[in-house]
């Protein structure tokens, strides 16, 4: 008979090794769809690798892609640590981006040293406000935040389209539903000449470091972990569960808002309704792959971005569909979930041996 038993304490090697192993297995499994698409497997992998590490430009493209994923990954990781299921990072990202273009496109003609911080703070505030509503509904009325945050994504997206056809529409945009460009002094500076990677990456890394420090070392992080692991015991110990949930909701929403700021003020310069190819949702994968650790989010975001950028380049060179990247990302999530199961449980046969 096969029996599944919880392990006493997953070892350190397991908790760090399993995500890495899952990523490797997911990459290996990508050979199956590649073979179906008729691409030569070996050269395809080489091309995928070159697409990320083949040149400075390729590498900078990967970093550019990783930047918003670090923000949305952190948004998911922190909220999930408190068992607050924020599925709404996609919408909060757009709220942050809308706030950025609302004040960054000429309403205020002030120097960059004033304008840029304002864009960042207002963008984060808009994202935070977007998550404050579901958090309030949850703490006050017990509304399931999975449902409210998910549905808010669609509401925000439609609101965005309305704004891009209305108040935010670029009068010089030849009728396209897009916003006016952000003023030059409102843009996040690029890090390297003729590359797209911008200082949003630095901001993301700093924020990740702060998040990691706060989670482990601060009273706020202690309360957050306590509420997430056992809300009943946390409440019994005098921790205000609602206050903890609300504070992490604000921060999670703010981080997602920063992803929008970073994309619009770091990369695109103007806002369209297809700013994010699902960064909010991919952030959930990043957070899970990272084991909900902020430091891990950075590594997971780099991995996922590599897969996207590498698979993109490979699909162009090999003539296979670029949806392959999505497939690898999805498989790595599945591998992580299955791997996490093996980290927590072991499977034994009880027919002969003692369990």
């Amino acid at each position: 008979m096969i029996r599944i038993e919880p392990r006493n304490a997953p070892s350190r090697l397991m908790t760090t090794g399993i995500p890495v192993l899952s990523a490797v297995v997911a990459l290996a499994l990508a050979a199956i769809p590649l073979a179906f698409a008729g691409a030569p497997i070996g050269p395809a992998y080489v091309q995928m690798f070159r697409g990320v590490f083949g040149s400075m430009f390729a590498f900078s493209e990967m970093l550019t892609r990783a930047t918003p994923l670090i923000f949305t990954g952190l948004a998911a990781a922190l909220a999930f640590r408190a068992r607050l299921w924020n599925i709404g990072a996609e919408g909060q990202l757009y709220l942050g981006a809308m706030a950025a273009v609302a004040i960054g496109t000429g309403v205020l003609d002030v120097p960059g040293i004033v304008l840029l911080p304002m864009i960042i703070i207002l963008g984060a505030a808009a994202g935070a406000a977007g998550m404050a509503v579901p958090a309030l509904l949850k703490t006050r009325f017990g509304a399931d935040e999975v449902v409210t945050t998910l549905l808010l994504n669609f509401i925000i997206l439609i609101f965005l389209q309305m704004m891009l056809e209305g108040p935010l529409k670029d009068p010089m945009g030849l009728g396209w539903p897009q916003s006016a460009p952000i003023l030059d002094q409102g843009m996040l500076p690029t890090l390297m000449t003729r590359m797209r990677v911008h200082s949003g990456l630095i901001l993301a890394l700093v924020v990740a470091a702060i998040a990691q420090f706060m989670l482990v070392r601060s009273v706020w992080g202690f309360r957050l972990r306590a509420v997430g692991e056992n809300a009943a015991a946390a409440r019994h110990a005098g921790i205000s569960v609602n206050r903890s949930l609300f504070s992490v909701a604000i921060i999670s929403g703010g981080l997602a808002g920063l992803a929008g700021v970073s994309e619009v003020a770091g990369l695109k310069g103007y806002l369209t309704a297809d700013l994010s190819p699902g960064f909010g949702y991919t952030g959930i994968v990043v957070a899970m792959l990272a084991g909900l650790s902020p430091a891990g989010v950075v590594l997971a975001a780099l991995f996922i971005a590599s897969v996207f950028v590498g698979a993109d380049s490979m699909s162009r060179a090999m003539g296979v569909s670029s949806y392959l990247a999505d497939l690898v990302v999805a498989m790595s999530l599945l591998c992580v979930l299955i791997g996490g199961f093996f980290a927590r449980y072991r499977i034994t046969r009880t027919a002969r041996a003692a369990q």
Binding site: A9, V219, R223, A226, N230, A233, G238, I239
Partner: protein, 517 residues
């Protein structure tokens, strides 16, 4: 008594790594016999029964069970289904009920095919009613188990085993949550059923009921069967010595004069959804240097009362005063600040955060303490030192202060909670079922700590279903029944037992007074 053998365990051995949980244990059970299995926690009683029931695979040894005709046949080990088919029923210490199903569904669950769950529901109900009538184990069949009290859940567990036509019934601490009368009735009815051929093994810590209701007593210590004795030849001292290997020290309880009141409840009512979560016009006073024992069967309002004192629950009417200051909008934090130390009923669920370290769990109520944090950042060194000191002082055994708290055993989790509570020098201590599930050593330690706190001047509210514990520790006793609190002007267990069952008369209860011990 019919002396046909129905079960024999032969040389059962079980090792977990280097720990020998059971070492070549032999045990026989005869038809119609009630065998008590005694031993401290960790003595290997539950491991032995889990091998019998197929949950664990023994490293050595065999089990023979009599079939319906009385022929002894070897039991295939490691298969719970085989144990069930052989007529072995087990009622676990930790309930194995589905909370969102009704009691009836729980009882028939697994005993009927899954693909037709409503088949012959009326027949099942009739059969259960019959068992209830014979055994006296009454539980509301159509109520969701999640809404039942701990005591009722246990009754459903026993009914579940009886419903499966068990010929051998294993009860792991069956009376922990029953009133003395209910327990007596349970054993009386088990007596009636054993006359019909049922054989019973029950695991218990309560020497009194072991002596009163078993025919034979087997004692395990450190995984070895250290003795077997016919109950008529045993007394409490003999078996206690067999269990722990020495005479148990009884906690000396010196008489003390109660001081100023530390907790005062007047006219407190809570209107809950049902009777079990309601309180009806409660008056209560606890003084310094005093332990107030609150006896009662679970589900009579203890949870609400504990919730009020813990700060988890608000009163609909009435007044709560802690140390002279009225608490208007209670919350746990405010209660902690007012000097109330709380030992929760469900220590796993409310007492600790299993995934966090022992050290973190020890400071979780002190997060605003400048010794623990400054400007919002944790002082990790102080947390570590605090933990190392308390682990020593309170003898918390386990993998260490940095290990997740869930790796501790029940007794050590309780010690962790005691350390956390007593270190803050509480003015008032709420101890809700503080020794439930603990072995004699750990339970004695809890009692000793409560008495030390009392000697220091704390007032203690001790809520317990174990009347022996209340009689042993409390200076004053009140009985909770149906959301009402009555002073017991007696220390007679029969009389208190009657009050727990709701049969108090006004001669026995004067609301505002109690007799001091």
């Amino acid at each position: 008594m019919n002396m046909d053998k129905v079960l024999s365990l032969n040389g059962l051995t079980k090792r977990f790594g280097t720990v020998v949980a059971n070492d070549a244990v032999d045990l026989d059970l005869h038809k119609g016999e009630v065998l008590a299995l005694l031993g401290e926690n960790g003595a290997g009683k539950t491991t032995l029964m889990n091998m019998l029931f197929g949950h664990y695979m023994p490293d050595a040894g065999t089990v023979d069970v009599a079939d319906a005709d009385g022929t002894m046949r070897p039991l295939p080990l490691g298969h719970p289904q085989a144990a069930l088919a052989a007529g072995i029923g087990m009622v676990h210490q930790h309930f194995t009920l589905a909370e969102n199903l009704s009691a009836l569904d729980n009882i028939v669950l697994g005993a009927e095919p899954l693909w037709h769950p409503r088949r012959n529901r009326a027949g099942a109900r009739k059969k259960i009613k019959g068992i209830m009538a014979r055994s006296g184990l009454v539980a509301p069949l159509d109520t969701r188990v999640g809404r039942l009290s701990v005591g009722e859940r246990q009754r459903v567990e026993i009914l579940k085993a009886l419903y499966r036509d068990a010929r051998i019934l294993v009860l792991d601490e069956p009376t922990a949550v029953l009133t003395p009368q209910e327990a007596d009735m349970l054993f009386e009815n088990i007596g009636a059923m054993t006359a019909d051929g049922l054989s019973v093994i029950f695991i218990s810590h309560k020497l009194r009921e072991v002596l009163a209701f078993s025919q034979r007593i087997a004692v395990l210590r450190h995984g070895v069967k250290v003795g077997e004795i016919a109950t008529k030849d045993a007394d409490e001292r003999v078996i206690a010595r067999m269990m722990v290997g020495a005479d148990t020290p009884t906690t000396p309880r010196t008489k003390m004069t109660p001081g100023a009141p530390v907790l005062h409840l007047s006219g407190v009512s809570v209107h809950g959804h049902s009777k079990r979560d309601s309180l009806n016009n409660i008056d209560l006073d606890v003084h310094q240097y005093e332990i107030l024992g609150i006896a009662g069967v679970s589900g009579n309002g203890q949870t609400v009362l504990a919730g009020l004192i813990s700060g988890l629950q608000r009163a609909d009417t009435g007044q709560i005063t802690v140390d002279g200051a009225e608490i208007t909008r209670p919350n746990p934090r405010m209660m902690i600040r007012a000097g109330v130390g709380r030992i929760p009923e469900d220590r796993h669920h409310d007492g600790i955060i299993g995934a966090m370290s022992v050290a973190e769990n020890m400071v979780i109520e002190r997060l605003n303490d400048p010794e623990i944090q400054s400007r919002g950042l944790l002082n990790r060194e102080a947390i570590q030192q605090n933990a190392e000191r308390l682990v020593q002082e309170y003898d918390v055994r386990g993998p260490g202060a940095d290990a997740p708290a869930r790796l501790l055993s029940g007794g050590n989790i309780q010690k962790l909670i005691l350390a956390r509570v007593f270190e803050q020098g509480p003015r008032l201590i709420l101890a809700n079922q503080p020794t439930r599930g603990l072995d004699m050593g750990a339970a004695a330690e809890v009692g000793r700590r409560l008495l030390v706190a009392r000697a220091r001047g704390a007032g203690v509210v001790l809520i317990s279903e174990d009347l022996d514990e209340i009689l042993g520790l409390a200076d004053r006793i009140m009985v909770i029944h149906d959301g009402q609190l009555h002073a017991a002007n007696t220390r007679d267990r029969e009389e208190i037992g009657l009050m727990m069952a709701g049969e108090h008369s006004d001669e026995h209860s004067a609301k505002h007074s109690g007799v001091s011990a």
